[in-house]
């Protein structure tokens, strides 16, 4: 791999491919929540590892951008490290773990706790872009359902959850409705993160490589988590606080610390946790 004599284009993809992806992105932004088919390329990392997000990032990144990559909220998980290294190598861009400093944040399964701002872009890696897929396996059917805004099956599914469990039993990849039109899968983020999609000042782009779909939520767009009047959407609440920084407002990972049932809870967003700990330390000094 070191003795690679073949020069690759900036950010790996050739310019024609980037143009094709950018067209899909523009269309996606024009029709919020609509899944735009695109000619997904084979990437040098496996399907399921974020090839959609990587292609979106490759198509939008410029030499001036500052890139942050997280997986499960953390900058230090193996896949995040690998993707960050990929762009550091192929695009030679500055990378960061600081959410506020990044111009592009590529993520798998989380939305950063630090609120995103105008001008930032959040790129989601998406495994199954179709929110109706587990109710209707056929693409021919689901496309028609979207075209007709025929979302009855989704409401029936949520209703059946309530009838069976007393709750909507979807805790991640919780379906949303974008701008009052398309039902959209927010990717497998915990439903804890769903409210962050609504009226977000940052542009949110979703890339599904294996399924060859791109969709988008433009800045300041309504994103509503599906619910019922008598069973309103509820954000997951934790009864614990982060063991490291004491946060009670962040998504917590449960860490098994021994084989006797010992547990501790820590922030899933490592940058958020580090910042809070640094601030505490400063305050103490």
């Amino acid at each position: 791999m070191n003795a690679d004599p073949r020069p690759y284009n900036f950010a790996y993809l050739d310019e024609q491919t980037k143009r094709m992806i950018r067209r899909a992105i523009l269309k996606a932004i024009a029709i919020p929540g609509y899944q735009v088919p695109f000619a997904s390329r084979e990437m040098p990392m496996p399907y399921g590892w974020g090839t959609g997000g990587v292609q979106v990032t490759a198509a939008i990144i410029g030499p001036e951008d500052v890139l942050k990559v997280i997986d499960q909220g953390s900058d230090d998980t193996t896949n995040a490290v690998s993707i960050r290294a990929f762009f550091a190598k192929t695009a030679n861009v500055e990378t960061t773990t600081d959410t506020a400093k990044a111009t592009i944040v590529q993520t798998r399964h989380r939305v950063p706790e630090t609120p995103l701002t105008n001008g930032q872009i959040l790129v989601y890696q998406v495994p199954i872009p179709e929110p109706l897929r587990f109710l209707e396996p056929r693409e021919t059917e689901t496309r028609t359902m979207h075209a007709l805004a025929e979302y009855g099956v989704m409401h029936v599914k949520l209703y059946e959850d309530i009838a069976r469990h007393g709750h909507i039993a979807t805790t991640y990849a919780y379906p949303t409705r974008v701008s009052g039109r398309y039902v959209m899968d927010p990717s497998p983020i915990p439903k804890f993160d769903n409210p962050k999609l609504d009226d977000c000042p940052a542009l949110q782009l979703f890339g599904a490589g294996r399924e060859k779909r791109i969709y988008a939520v433009p800045p300041h767009t309504r994103v509503v988590s599906l619910d019922f009047e008598d069973h309103p959407f509820e954000r997951t609440k934790f009864e614990a606080a982060c063991e490291f920084c004491g946060a009670t407002d962040s998504f917590l990972d449960e860490v098994v610390i021994d084989d006797k049932g010992g547990r501790m809870f820590v922030c899933s967003d490592t940058d958020y946790c580090d910042k809070r700990r640094a601030a505490k330390k400063d305050a103490a000094e």
Partner: protein, 365 residues
């Protein structure tokens, strides 16, 4: 501190170094050469070329070496290389009737123009471990055909078509754009070119199982092997500046034409129908499976009852790609603890509510 999944850059680099070491194996054993792979594991090279849609023996052999013999991993490597290659244009349709035959068999006619040519085949070998191969071998030179194998060997389906007993191939439309499943997202129903491309790079094992299922009643279509031929064909391309086709070289392919149960009615006389398979190199198993599945997928077009998975276009075409499949299956190895945590929280809440009003169980957590 808990660090198991937060491996970081150093752990990744170390894991890759360990992989490279394992790939090389015991240093006292001679390192395998990519030429040896190409020459002596040539059917593995053929499969990698086929399923990566890249006719390049050197790249395929190197990919097999790099992948430690894991062929799906090798296919993935070759595809990720292929995707970066510039595309000059589309070749002219191959004339497989003009193939330089190395093997050609028909199960429908005892003898036919051009004859049956057995060629290099495992068929009729006894599958007894040849312990002699554990040592170096130097087999005698094979017998050569008395006359050059250039005698005309028309394709069997063309012979049958002469009597109008089999459906015509759809007429070629030179002006129509050619599908490229590696450059366009699939749509359903798929065009025939897109379907055949997808099957040609589909997983051999998956298509074998599906083809087999049609023989066992899940979408039966009564196949006969009209012909299997393997050999070299010329690839030609029209260069716009020249205005005529120029040869680019020869590639080895295996073609299978299945002749299937007839169809007629509505004033049309009954005719056999076709299923088609074509792969790079020599792989009769894959070419035959592809032909069976191609025919099964024509159920809708031929107004047949759809009862088997092999007849379901979305099911087959969406799941036959092994690089996609292995990626998505294996991605389950990636951390999912955020989603799992969300599920845990809900499950605990459900159980708490289901049990009698808890006195003060919260503190235990």
């Amino acid at each position: 501190m808990y660090v198991a999944v937060k491996g970081g850059a150093r752990a990744i680099a170390n894991a890759h170094a360990l992989l490279a070491d394992k790939r090389r194996g015991d240093r006292s054993v001679a390192e395998i050469d990519t030429q040896q792979i190409d020459e002596q594991l040539s059917l593995a090279v053929d499969r990698v070329m086929s399923e990566s849609s890249l006719y390049d023996r050197e790249i395929a052999a190197l990919a097999i070496k790099q992948a430690r013999g894991d062929l799906i991993e090798a296919i993935f490597l070759a595809r990720a290389y292929r995707t970066t290659l510039p595309r000059f244009g589309f070749a002219e349709p191959l004339d497989t009737g003009a193939m330089a035959l190395r093997r050609r068999v028909s199960a429908t006619f005892k003898d036919l123009p051009g004859g049956q040519v057995l060629g290099p085949t495992f068929d009729y070998t006894h599958r007894l471990i040849d312990f002699g191969l554990a040592q170096t071998s130097d087999p005698p030179s094979p017998a050569a055909a008395p006359s050059a194998a250039d005698a005309a060997a028309p394709r069997v389906v063309d012979i049958i078509a002469g009597d109008d007993l089999i459906e015509r191939s759809p007429p070629a439309n030179d002006g129509a754009p050619v599908a490229d499943v590696t450059r366009d997202p699939e749509t359903f129903p798929a065009s025939r070119d897109a379907r055949l491309q997808t099957l040609a790079r589909g997983d051999e094992g998956f298509l074998l199982g599906l083809g087999y299922s049609t023989q066992r009643g899940y979408g039966r279509n009564h196949p006969f092997v009209g012909e299997i031929r393997f050999g070299e064909v010329e690839v030609e391309m029209v260069v716009p500046e020249l205005g005529f086709a120029v040869p680019l070289g020869a590639i080895a392919v295996t073609e299978c034409q299945m002749v299937n149960q007839f169809k007629g009615g509505d004033g049309e006389p009954a005719r056999f129908t076709r299923g088609y398979g074509l792969v790079f190199g020599q792989s009769e198993r894959k070419a035959m499976s592809m032909a069976l599945v191609d025919r099964a997928l024509r159920a809708e077009e031929l107004a047949e009852e759809k009862i088997g998975p092999a007849q379901d276009e979305e099911f087959v075409l969406s799941h036959c790609d092994n690089v996609q499949a292995t990626g998505f299956v294996e991605h389950l190895k990636l951390p999912h603890y955020v989603d799992f945590q969300a599920e845990l929280a809900l499950l605990r809440a459900l159980r708490r509510e289901a049990s009698a009003p808890p006195p003060d169980a919260e503190a235990a957590e």
